[in-house]
């Protein structure tokens, strides 16, 4: 039986598996983070997965983007990913959008948005939209040996958002994976934790609103940081 390892668990069971099957999750970005997120969520039986990425598969993606094979180079990532995920689990509804994240896309009916993008502007767009719509939002990023994870359950927490931690007016840092590199399994680790956070949110176990996890794969160290809401935050601030 496909989900027997979930059904064996008292805190998932049939009721939990049904919640996963009823869920609508949008994954924005199908790179090094989005690949493991999509694979784990499809395998877990998330019933409606939406995939968003405008890019085509390139040879330099294959060091870390584990959905794709060399023969896929030149193909749209969303088309390749949809085919691979349906091969893994044909019982899911998978929608694909070969576009950048936009307010129009985010206005579709999703329970959770998973931010697997590679830039602050997209993260802040998702943050603002999810805050306004009271949807959950799980964000991760990686660079070099390092990874970062933070989730927001706006349906249950009206204050503290990504903009309280990283100001949307901050300039984009000069370093990115394209000019300074990234270790593939670090992305895999952070993407796996994003997928875990999505499952935790859907099953009602998420208690880490705004808590930031940082991982340094070079030293093997983790840090867990708390954050507080800014009263003058342009997104969620009470004096805004």
């Amino acid at each position: 039986m496909r989900y027997s390892r979930h059904l064996l668990m008292d805190d998932i069971g049939e009721a939990g598996q049904q919640k996963l099957f009823n869920a609508r999750v949008l994954i924005v970005g199908l790179g090094g983070l989005g690949c493991p997120v999509a694979l784990y969520l499809a395998a877990a039986g998330i019933g409606q997965l939406s995939l968003c990425d405008p890019d085509h598969v390139e040879l330099s993606n294959l060091q870390r983007q584990i959905l794709y094979k060399e023969s896929n180079c030149g193909e749209l990532k969303v088309n390749c990913a949809k085919r691979e995920l349906l091969a893994l689990n044909p019982h899911l509804q998978i929608s694909s959008y070969a576009v950048e994240a936009s307010a129009e896309l985010l206005n579709n009916n999703f329970d959770i948005v998973v931010d697997c993008t590679d830039n602050l502007a997209a993260r802040q767009l998702i943050n603002r939209h999810c805050y306004n719509q009271k949807k959950a939002f799980v964000s991760a990023s990686a660079l070099g040996w390092e990874g970062q994870l933070v989730g927001f359950d706006f349906g249950h927490n009206p204050s503290l958002c990504l903009n309280c931690i990283i100001d949307e007016n901050s300039p984009e840092p000069s370093l990115n994976c394209g000019n300074s590199g990234v270790v593939g399994p670090v992305l895999g680790a952070m993407g796996s934790l994003q997928a875990t956070s999505v499952i935790r949110l859907l099953l009602g176990f998420f208690q880490q609103h705004g808590e930031m996890q940082r991982y340094d794969g070079k030293s093997g160290r983790w840090l867990c940081l708390q954050a507080s809401a800014k009263t003058d935050c342009a997104v969620c601030g009470v004096i805004n």
Partner: protein, 79 residues
């Protein structure tokens, strides 16, 4: 005294930097590092560097108490 953690790749710029200082704010720590550790101070001045005090994310002007641990974390933006 304030203890300092330079997380992740900031540690590569901080090999000879002090791990304890007397300072009243994180911004003052950065200022103290400018003369002897300019490359590190420059990294700390990059946009989106996060600062935490005792595992709480704070601003650069957060007042520090004796015995606090200040961590500096570089931006991580790729995906």
């Amino acid at each position: 005294m304030i203890s300092i953690l330079f997380f992740g790749r900031l540690g590569d710029f901080a090999k000879n930097a002090p791990r304890t200082v007397k300072a009243s704010t994180p911004a003052q720590i950065r200022e103290l590092l400018t003369i002897k550790h300019p490359a590190l101070a420059k990294e700390l001045s990059q946009p989106q560097v996060l600062v935490s005090v005792n595992q709480m994310i704070v601003g650069w002007e957060q007042p520090l108490m004796d015995g606090s641990e200040v961590a500096f974390l570089p931006p991580v933006t790729g995906g």
